[in-house]
């Protein structure tokens, strides 16, 4: 309860600013329309009209909420008009890319920690890969994979993977190197093999770093999936909704898709946080 009041206060302030901004941004259009129709307009009328346009510059919160309600609860989830359907299309690519990115990231980190040549050579490439704007490389990945006969979920998942392996590599290299010299020496005194050292010491020690990386990777993965949907001709997914919305000036649709994306990201990161809490608590590390 004590936590709820400040949170609600902040939300209320944001909503208030949002309504005010909607008036400010949409007023010109209302005034122009009124002038064209030779109509006098009062200030109360003006405010109400800025909050109820079909294609406002900035939709009011209740318009977005209404749109969200209509496209989630009131639509069959198999319908192409359902936001749940589009969210699922994006989420499935996100999860596939996240899984692949995590696997790739962990594999690279293990290589960097155990193989000296990889330690010296891989990291600069990993960092360079992230300096390329994803918007530039995404269409090329889609086109190349399409030429190879791959379409649908996989190309999008590849873009998700491209973004999400990075935080996992960085976090896991740090995590796998978390054991102290003393702990590593201790393993040596027991004449432990490398795989015993990895499984019993390095891997458990890396868990706090692993979960922190996963949260960033999940968010990056969702961005990747949405970006991956843009060049596919807006077939399905939250990215498609964003693109279609901007083609036709459907700002309400854009905003509701944005909110859906934020909600999906929050839910996924929250889920990882939950697993993290339970795991680290059981491991005595939290």
């Amino acid at each position: 309860m004590r936590n709820l009041i400040p949170v609600l206060t902040v939300v209320a302030v944001i909503v208030a600013i949002w309504y005010a901004a909607a008036v400010w941004l949409n007023a010109q259009w209302v005034l122009d329309t009124a002038a064209r129709q030779d109509r006098e307009i009062g200030s109360a009328e003006l405010v109400l009209e800025t909050w109820s346009q079909d294609k406002p510059r900035l939709p009011a919160p209740h318009q977005v909420v209404t749109e969200l309600w209509e496209t989630t609860v009131q639509k069959n989830i198999t319908s192409k008009r359902s936001l749940v359907y589009h969210a699922w299309v994006t989420l499935s690519a996100t999860l596939a890319g996240f899984a692949m990115g995590t696997a790739l990231g962990v594999a690279l980190a293990v290589g960097i920690v155990y193989v000296r040549v990889m330690d010296m050579s891989v990291m600069p490439w990993v960092i360079a890969s992230q300096t390329i704007p994803i918007l530039a490389i995404a269409p090329m990945i889609i086109v190349v994979l399409n030429a190879m006969g791959l379409s649908g979920l996989l190309p999008k998942a590849m873009i998700s993977m491209y973004l999400s392996f990075f935080p996992v590599v960085v976090g896991m290299v740090k995590g796998l190197r978390a054991p102290s010299m003393m702990q590593l020496d201790q393993m040596r005194t027991w004449n432990a093999t490398q795989s015993q050292e990895f499984l019993r010491l390095r891997l458990p020690s890396s868990m706090p770093y692993f979960f922190a990386s996963l949260k960033i990777a999940m968010a990056a993965s969702l961005v990747g999936a949405i970006v991956g949907e843009l060049p596919t001709g807006a077939v399905a997914g939250l990215g498609a909704r964003l693109l279609a919305g901007s083609y036709y000036g459907q700002t309400i649709q854009i905003w509701s898709a944005l909110f859906m994306a934020a909600f999906v990201a929050a839910a996924m990161v929250g889920l990882i946080g939950l697993v993290q809490r339970v795991t680290l608590k059981r491991m005595g590390m939290a």
């Binding site: 003393m182 020496d185 040596r188 005194t189 027991w190 004449n191 019993r200 458990p204 005595g284």
Partner: protein, 267 residues
Amino acid sequence: MTNAMPQQAETSVISAKALNLTFQTNDGPVHALRDVNLEVGKGDFVSFIGPSGCGKTTFLRVMADLEQPTSGEVLVNGVSPEAARKARAYGYVFQAAGLYPWRTIGGNIRLPLEIMGYDKATQAERVREVLELVELAGFENKYPWQLSGGMQQRASIARALAFEADILLMDEPFGALDEIVRDHLNEQLLALWARTQKTICFVTHSIPEAVYLSTKIVVMSPRPGRITDVIESPLPKERPLDIRDTPEFLEIAHRVREGLRAGHAYD
């Protein structure tokens, strides 16, 4: 195990001859050990004492095959430190307990046994035995954070004892503990040594600790790290804590202090 010097192996558990170790650093070479010669007999309790930088820990690490000597020879159980390590001839107790927080006390002690491939029944039996030995019976299923610092260090000693190595190498195991706990653990360690007949090499920078525990005290000095004195203790094997007030005890302590001073340790 056969070796070239069977006679020596019988009398000497650890033998160092003309041992040198130089670390190359950015500020030039550091002579961690120079011309170190030492014989440690079976069942001895040897303390290595000296100020920081005298090479006492480095010497212990050479015995454990954690450092490589630049020249000279070390034999552990009559073989090279590497062979001794691979034969799991010694248990090593570090300065910090270093227990894994995700394992129970029993799980921590079981760790080396799992690595060495003991079967489950033997593991359980050994864990129970060594926990009794360090007076931690009943704590098997507790987690490290539920134990005090002294108890954690006892658990780490139990872990080093678990796989029945007959040499115990201890690197300032009680350094981080307060004096009262330390006295208690010293007493317990002597009792444990008497019961298990192990050969113990013990690094410390406390004079009373060294004199109280040891049958042989090796005094070392820094720059370059070398042995300045080796004192065979005349104290009996039975040692109550108040032996530290006897003239014999004080006499040895005095000799250790002299040895440390002679090494110009604090110039």
